[in-house]
C-alpha cells in the first residue's frame, strides 16, 4: 500500500470518527437538554419526553372552568397571594405566574377558522409549561434558571443577573421581570404586595420570576395551590407523568389533550383538554 493511499485512509477514518463523535459532543455542549435519540427522531421529536425518573405534569380541563365561573380567577388570585406576586396596576411592569388568556392567544398556531363560539369566552389558564427541553434554561448565562430532576423548571432569584435572555427565549411568554422594586409602595402609599406571605420569599428589583409548580409546597407533601383550588371540580389534574398509575397518566391515556406549540420541540409538561 503506497503512502498516499494510507494517508487517505487515515484521514477518511478520522473523519468518520469525528462525524460519529460530533453529535454527542454537541449534546454535551447542550448538557443533554437536546437529547436527539434515534427513537424520538423517528417520532418527529415533537411530543416525546424523558422516559425515566419523576416528571411532574398538569392537565387543564378548560371546559370545567367555563362551567364553574370564577374558578380560574380564584386559581390566579391564590397563586399570586401565596407567592407574594406584586400588583403594579399596569401592563408594562406586570408580573404574573398564572393568568387567564383567550384561546386565540394561548394557541395562536392552531387554526382559528370556524371554531365553536364557546371558545371565544373560554378562560384558559396560562402558566409556565415546565418544558422537558426548556429554551430558557439553555439561554441562561448563570444557571439561575435550571431544570430539576422532577421536571420542574426553577429560578434562583439570588443568582439571576437580570439579563432577560430567558424571557426572549421563552416561547410561551411565561416569564416576568421585576422592572421596579416589588417590595415598594405606590404613589398612595399602598404596598404592591397586598398581604405578604412570610412562608415564601419576596423578590428584589431586577430579577426574573415565574411559576415554580409550587415546588415549595410539593416539598412538604402539598399539591400546587391552583390544583388545590380546583380540586373539587377536577379542572386541573397534577402528578407524575412517568408513573403509569398516577391520575394524570390515566387522564392523558383516556382524553385527547393538546400542548401549546409542540412543533418547536420544547416538550411542554402542560396539557389542555378543550
Amino acid at each position: 500500500m503506497d503512502s498516499k493511499r494510507r494517508d487517505f485512509l487515515k484521514i477518511a477514518g478520522l473523519t468518520a470518527i469525528a462525524g460519529i463523535a460530533a453529535p454527542s459532543a454537541f449534546n454535551t455542549l447542550l448538557k443533554g437538554e437536546a437529547i436527539a435519540s434515534a427513537g424520538q427522531a423517528a417520532a418527529g421529536g415533537h411530543g416525546a419526553a424523558a422516559p425515566t425518573g419523576k416528571r411532574y405534569g398538569m392537565v387543564i380541563d378548560v371546559k370545567k372552568f367555563t362551567e364553574n365561573s370564577g374558578l380560574a380567577e380564584q386559581c390566579v388570585s391564590v397563586c399570586h397571594t401565596i407567592h407574594n406576586v406584586p400588583d403594579f396596576g399596569n401592563r408594562k411592569d406586570e408580573i404574573k405566574w398564572i393568568w387567564i388568556e383567550s384561546y386565540e392567544h394561548t394557541f395562536p398556531t392552531e387554526s382559528q377558522y370556524k371554531r365553536p363560539d364557546a371558545l371565544k369566552d373560554m378562560p384558559i389558564l396560562t402558566l409556565c409549561n415546565h418544558c422537558d427541553n426548556p429554551p430558557c434554561v439553555r439561554a441562561c448565562p448563570t444557571k439561575a434558571t435550571y431544570k430539576k430532576k422532577d421536571g420542574i423548571v426553577g429560578m434562583d432569584y439570588h443568582r439571576c443577573i437580570g439579563c432577560r435572555f430567558c424571557m426572549a427565549a421563552c416561547p410561551y411568554g411565561a416569564r416576568s421581570f421585576n422592572w421596579r422594586d416589588p417590595r415598594g409602595k405606590d404613589a398612595n402609599g399602598q404596598p404592591f404586595i397586598k398581604a405578604e406571605n412570610p412562608k415564601y420569599p419576596t423578590r428584589m428589583r431586577g430579577v426574573v420570576e415565574k411559576c415554580n409548580f409550587c415546588t415549595e409546597r410539593l416539598a412538604i407533601g402539598q399539591i400546587p395551590a391552583c390544583v388545590e383550588v380546583a380540586a373539587q371540580t377536577k379542572a386541573i389534574v397534577f402528578g407524575d407523568m412517568n408513573d403509569p398509575e398516577s391520575e394524570i397518566s390515566q387522564v392523558l391515556k383516556t382524553s385527547f389533550t393538546i400542548q401549546r406549540n409542540p412543533a418547536i420541540g420544547t416538550h411542554p409538561s402542560l396539557f389542555y383538554i378543550i
Binding site: 455542549l29 447542550l30 448538557k31 437538554e33 401592563r91 408594562k92 411592569d93 406586570e94 408580573i95 388568556e101 386565540e104 392567544h105 394561548t106 395562536p108 398556531t109 396560562t126 429554551p135 434554561v137 439553555r138 439561554a139 441562561c140 448565562p141 448563570t142 444557571k143 439561575a144 443568582r159 439571576c160 443577573i161 437580570g162 439579563c163 432577560r164 435572555f165 424571557m167 426572549a168 427565549a169 421563552c170 416561547p171 410561551y172 411568554g173 416576568s176 421581570f177 421585576n178 422592572w179 421596579r180 422594586d181 428584589m204 428589583r205 431586577g206 430579577v207 426574573v208 406549540n261 418547536i264 420541540g265 420544547t266
Partner: protein, 389 residues
C-alpha cells in the same frame, strides 16, 4: 506614547469637553435607573430588550468591521492600508467598550454581572459572547498598541505579535457570529430564527464599520494633516459598497422566504416593520418610517458611493458613507432587536418607545465610546505624523 493625548488644539479640547458633558448627563440618568430599576426605561413585559441591546448588537458589527482593514493589510500584504489599519483596530476597541457598557446598562442586577464568570454556563450563548467580546477587546488592545509603539520607536513590530494578529481575524468573525447566535437559536421567535442571521450581521458589519471609519478619516483629513491616501480610500469604497449590497441581498432573501412561503409567523414581524401590523381596530407601525428610510438610504448610499469614487469627490463620499451607516444603524440598531418582540409569542402587539433617561444613558455610552476613540486616534495620528515629518 499616551502623553500625546494630553496635548492638543483648542478644537480637540472643546470636543473632549463636549463628550464629557454628555457623559455627565447620562451618568445622572444612570444613577436614576440604578435606584429605580429598569422600569425607568420604555421596556415592558412583552418587549424585554430595548435600545441598549440593539445598540450593543449594532456596535459588535462596528467592531468586527475592523477586520476589513486588518485582513488585506496583514494577510494579503496590501500596503495602501498601512496608515488606516491602526484606525480600524482602535475603532474596534472603542466599539467593544461600548458593547460592554450597553450590556451592563441593560442588566437588572449589574452588581451580579460577575456571576457569568462564577457560574460558567457553556450552553448559554451569552457566556460565549462574553468570552469572544472580551477576547477581541484584548487582542485589539494588544495588537494595536504593540504595532503603534514599534512605529513610535522606529522599529518593525516584534515577531511574537504576528500570531495574535492572525488570531484576531477569525476572532472578528466569531464576535458577530456568536452575537447572531444569541438571537437565531431561540425557538418561537420567527423573525430571528433564520440561519442567514449571522451572515447578514457580518455583511452589514463589513459595510457599517468601514463606513464609520471612512467618515472619521475624512474628518481627520479636513482637521489634521492626516490623510489615509487615495488608494486606501478607493479600496474601502469597494469593500463598503459590496458588503452593503450583500446585506440587501440577504434582506431580500428574508423577504422571499417569508412572503413566498406565506407562513404567518415568518411574515408578522416583517409586516410590522415595513407596513405596520393591524390588530383589531388599531394599527401598530411606529417603526415603519424608520425601516423604510433605512432601505432608501442604504440603496441610495450604495449608488452614491461608487459615483463618489468615479468623481473622486470626498464630499459625496462622506454623504454616501453617512447614508449607509445610518441605514444599517436603523436596520440593526433598531429594527432587528425590537422587531423580534413583535408580535409576542402569544401574538399580542406591544410597541416600545425609549424613555428620556434611556436615551440619555444611550447617548452617554456613545459619547464614552467616542471619548475613548478620540484618545486612541489622537495618540495614533500624533505618532504617525511625527514619524513622517
Amino acid at each position: 506614547m499616551i502623553e500625546k493625548a494630553f496635548k492638543g488644539s483648542t478644537g480637540y479640547w472643546v470636543w473632549m469637553l463636549f463628550l464629557l458633558s454628555i457623559m455627565g448627563v447620562g451618568g445622572l440618568c444612570y444613577v436614576q435607573q440604578f435606584n429605580y430599576g429598569l422600569g425607568i426605561t420604555g421596556m415592558s413585559r412583552d418587549v424585554t430588550w430595548g435600545i441598549y441591546i440593539s445598540q450593543f448588537t449594532f456596535l459588535v458589527g462596528v467592531a468586527a468591521g475592523g477586520l476589513m482593514l486588518v485582513l488585506p493589510y496583514y494577510i494579503h500584504n496590501y500596503k495602501a492600508f498601512g496608515r488606516i489599519v491602526i484606525l480600524g483596530e482602535f475603532m474596534a476597541i472603542a466599539a467593544i467598550a461600548m458593547c460592554l457598557m450597553f450590556i451592563i446598562a441593560d442588566l437588572g442586577q449589574p452588581m451580579r454581572a460577575l456571576n457569568v464568570l462564577l457560574h460558567p454556563t457553556p450552553n448559554s450563548m451569552l457566556f460565549w459572547d462574553m468570552i469572544v467580546l472580551n477576547g477581541y477587546l484584548f487582542l485589539n488592545i494588544l495588537c494595536g498598541w504593540v504595532v503603534l509603539q514599534s512605529e513610535y520607536k522606529g522599529i518593525k513590530y516584534p515577531k511574537w505579535i504576528k500570531p495574535f494578529i492572525y488570531l484576531s481575524i477569525p476572532w472578528a468573525i466569531s464576535i458577530h457570529t456568536v452575537t447572531a447566535f444569541l438571537y437565531c437559536g431561540l425557538p418561537g421567535r420567527h423573525f430571528w430564527l433564520t440561519a442567514i442571521l449571522a451572515p447578514r450581521f457580518l455583511a452589514s458589519a463589513f459595510a457599517a464599520g468601514p463606513a464609520l471609519l471612512m467618515i472619521i478619516a475624512m474628518v481627520l483629513k479636513k482637521t489634521t494633516k492626516f490623510d489615509v491616501g487615495r488608494e486606501a480610500q478607493d479600496k474601502l469604497v469597494t469593500i463598503i459598497g459590496y458588503a452593503a449590497m450583500l446585506n440587501f441581498f440577504f434582506l431580500g432573501c428574508e423577504f422571499f422566504v417569508a412572503y413566498y412561503s406565506q407562513i404567518p409567523g415568518h411574515m408578522h414581524t416583517l409586516d410590522y416593520l415595513y407596513w405596520g401590523l393591524g390588530h383589531g381596530e388599531e394599527v401598530f407601525n411606529n417603526l415603519v418610517p424608520f425601516m423604510r428610510a433605512s432601505v432608501i438610504m442604504g440603496l441610495a448610499g450604495i449608488g452614491l458611493i461608487f459615483v463618489s469614487r468615479a468623481k473622486q469627490s470626498d464630499g459625496l463620499l462622506v454623504v454616501s458613507c453617512l447614508l449607509i451607516f445610518i441605514s444599517f444603524w436603523i436596520d440593526k440598531g433598531l429594527g432587528l432587536v425590537l422587531g423580534g418582540f413583535v408580535p409576542s409569542p402569544l401574538e399580542y402587539v406591544t410597541e416600545y418607545v425609549p424613555s428620556v433617561q434611556e436615551l440619555g444613558i444611550t447617548a452617554a455610552i456613545w459619547a464614552t465610546g467616542f471619548f475613548i476613540l478620540s484618545i486612541l486616534y489622537k495618540v495614533a495620528i500624533s505618532v504617525k505624523l511625527e514619524k513622517e515629518a
